[in-house]
Every structure is written in structure tokens, then in C-alpha cells.
Point group: C2
Chain length 184, copies 2
């Protein structure tokens, strides 16, 4: 697509649609009601033997910091399909999903994160376009000071807790934690 000039922009107002109970964003020009709901992030803690796959972010926010292969679930995907797609896009890795590790809620940015425990099928991976580099880390070598987001910390800790458990209840936010970067 060639850019031919500035895009027009929507003229949103907030009001309560008929039959609804809370204000929604409505475009005054075109009448579109933008029902905003939380978005789902799907991702995985991916292990190969005693090591964990981490990706160094090539994109903002938190460019240069380490994260899990994760991203927004797309339309018509199941949650495990989305997690496998993200592992492929960000790490060119084929993963086998084991079970749900955690469900985190990040209310300030309206995200629900579904993080799976997964295994690499083979120690083969390569940086996708959103990744600067990636590597398999032993627990003691994880770059804790350069982790991108609070929920990546949580997921790594929760993975370690259940590492030897064949079956477990999924974890959620640590008590009192909202995932808000500004409150850490």
C-alpha cells in the first residue's frame, strides 16, 4: 500500500448506546460503535532440557529486553494455536504445548495473558522480525535485570514452581500485583 497522504481520522465521542449500560466510543462521522474489550495475549515458557527459551525484543516497548514468545491472539484462533504461531513468528520454533501455566490479568492495559508450559520439539530456532536475538538459558543464567515485563518474571517463577509437576492448577497474578510497570 502506498501512502498517498494523511489518513482521515475518526471523531469519537463517548456515550451509552441504546440498550447498553456503559459508555462506548462512537464515531460521530460514521456511527461505528467501537466495543472495546480486553485483548488476549498468548505465549509460552518454552523449555529444552534444563533450559528456557527467551527472546530479546526488537520492537518497542522495552526494546532490547528479554521476553517470552508471546503476542496478541488473532481472530478465529484457539489459544494453543495462537501460542504456537507466536513461537513460530518470534523464534521460528516448533513447540509442543503441555498445559496452561498461568492466566494473568493486567487491568490497566486491559490484557488477559494465557501462558502455556511448552517444550521445543528440537533445539532449532532463529530470530523472527520482532526479535534481536534469542537463546536457551539455564535458570541461574536468566538475565533477571533485563526482563521486559513483570508478567515475564511471574511466568518464569511459576514455571520453576511447577517444573517437576505433571499436573497443577494454573497460576494467576501474584497477590497484590497488577502487572503495572509504573507501580513496581
Amino acid at each position: 500500500m502506498t501512502k498517498t497522504g494523511p489518513s482521515p481520522s475518526p471523531s469519537f465521542v463517548r456515550r451509552i448506546p441504546d440498550g447498553d449500560d456503559r459508555p462506548r466510543r462512537i464515531c460521530e462521522d460514521c456511527g461505528f460503535v467501537d466495543y472495546e474489550n480486553p485483548k488476549v495475549v498468548v505465549g509460552s515458557v518454552v523449555a529444552w532440557q534444563d533450559r528456557i527459551l527467551l527472546c530479546r525484543r526488537a520492537i518497542h516497548p522495552r526494546r532490547g529486553f528479554w521476553t517470552l514468545p508471546a503476542g496478541f491472539l488473532e481472530l478465529h484462533e484457539s489459544a494453543p494455536e495462537g501460542a504456537r504461531r507466536e513461537a513460530w513468528e518470534e523464534a521460528q520454533a516448533e513447540i509442543e504445548i503441555d498445559q496452561l501455566l498461568a492466566v494473568y490479568s493486567i487491568p490497566r492495559i486491559s490484557q488477559i495473558q494465557l501462558i502455556f508450559r511448552a517444550r521445543l520439539e528440537a533445539p532449532e530456532f532463529a530470530a523472527g522480525p520482532e526479535t534481536l536475538e534469542l537463546d536457551l538459558f539455564r535458570w541461574q543464567d536468566i538475565p533477571w535485570e533485563e526482563i521486559a515485563f513483570p508478567s515475564v518474571h511471574w511466568a518464569l517463577g511459576h514455571f520453576q514452581e511447577v517444573r517437576d509437576q505433571p499436573s497443577f492448577a494454573p497460576r494467576s497474578n501474584p497477590p497484590g500485583e497488577t502487572g503495572d510497570m509504573r507501580r513496581r
Copy 2:
């Protein structure tokens, strides 16, 4: 809000925004990019002693059929907060959430359903505006022929499986099941 005439309507076209990798809906009039992602439904299997709370739907789709207290997660809610709000709105019930029972993916309609195991704090409930009536059912009295959606069947069955387990791995779609009403 008084209706003063027909609303204008957006003129959506599908094209790939710059820097993206798949087509998105873009309004030709106002330039709005409608990033559509799956929506999260939060709900609960709510028990009181040996009975389960079900609600008969007052709204389409599946008006008159029985369902769980569940609905769309709203912005800035955590998943458990949303499940508690839905139990309050639909059944005027105060619930105590125990743990995540299941994560279902319904790809055709792009829904992720997070269903919790919960308890009524007291046997007090009343129909909200989206509910015709509601009742507590013993397992053998559940109106199986009048259940609203496949995922309600799944959640009830999964609840029964783990009823006596203090901790368990959450369930997901039964093998081969997509939740699609038309494929049942």
C-alpha cells in the same frame, strides 16, 4: 439518548496497514483501523452445597435456554472480577471464586471463555435483566435438553469431573470439539 434518525454507518474496507502482516478493517470515511481480536467471556459454575446455579436466558441468542452466569469481560477488569460482576448482574449472586475450571476456545466466533469453579456465599439470588428465571439444580435434575450452548455442557461435565478435587489442571475443549452450534 433519544434516537433522532438513522445513524451514519462506517464504510469498511479490508487492507493491510503499513507494518502489519494481515488485512484489517479500515473505515474509508474516517481512517479508523478496527483491530479485531477475540473477545474474552468470563463465567462460573456456581455451586451451593450439591446444587449448581443455572440461569434461563431472557435474551437472544438461545432465549429460554439455560446457561451459566457469564458474559464479556470489560475493559480494566481482571478475569475473576469480571466473573463476579457477571454473577451479580445476571443472578444477583455474590460468589466466591475457587479456581479456574476451564479455558475454551470457540474459533468460529473468536471467543476465549474462562470458566471458574465458584461457590455461592449464601443461597440468595434473583434474576437480573438478562435472565428469565434461575434455580439451583441437583446434577440429576439439570435440564440437559435445554442447555444454551455446547460450552455450557462442557463446563458442567468438567465441573463434575473435578468436583471433589481440591486442585486440578484446567480443562479445555473436548477433543475435536470447536463449540460451533452448527457442527453439533
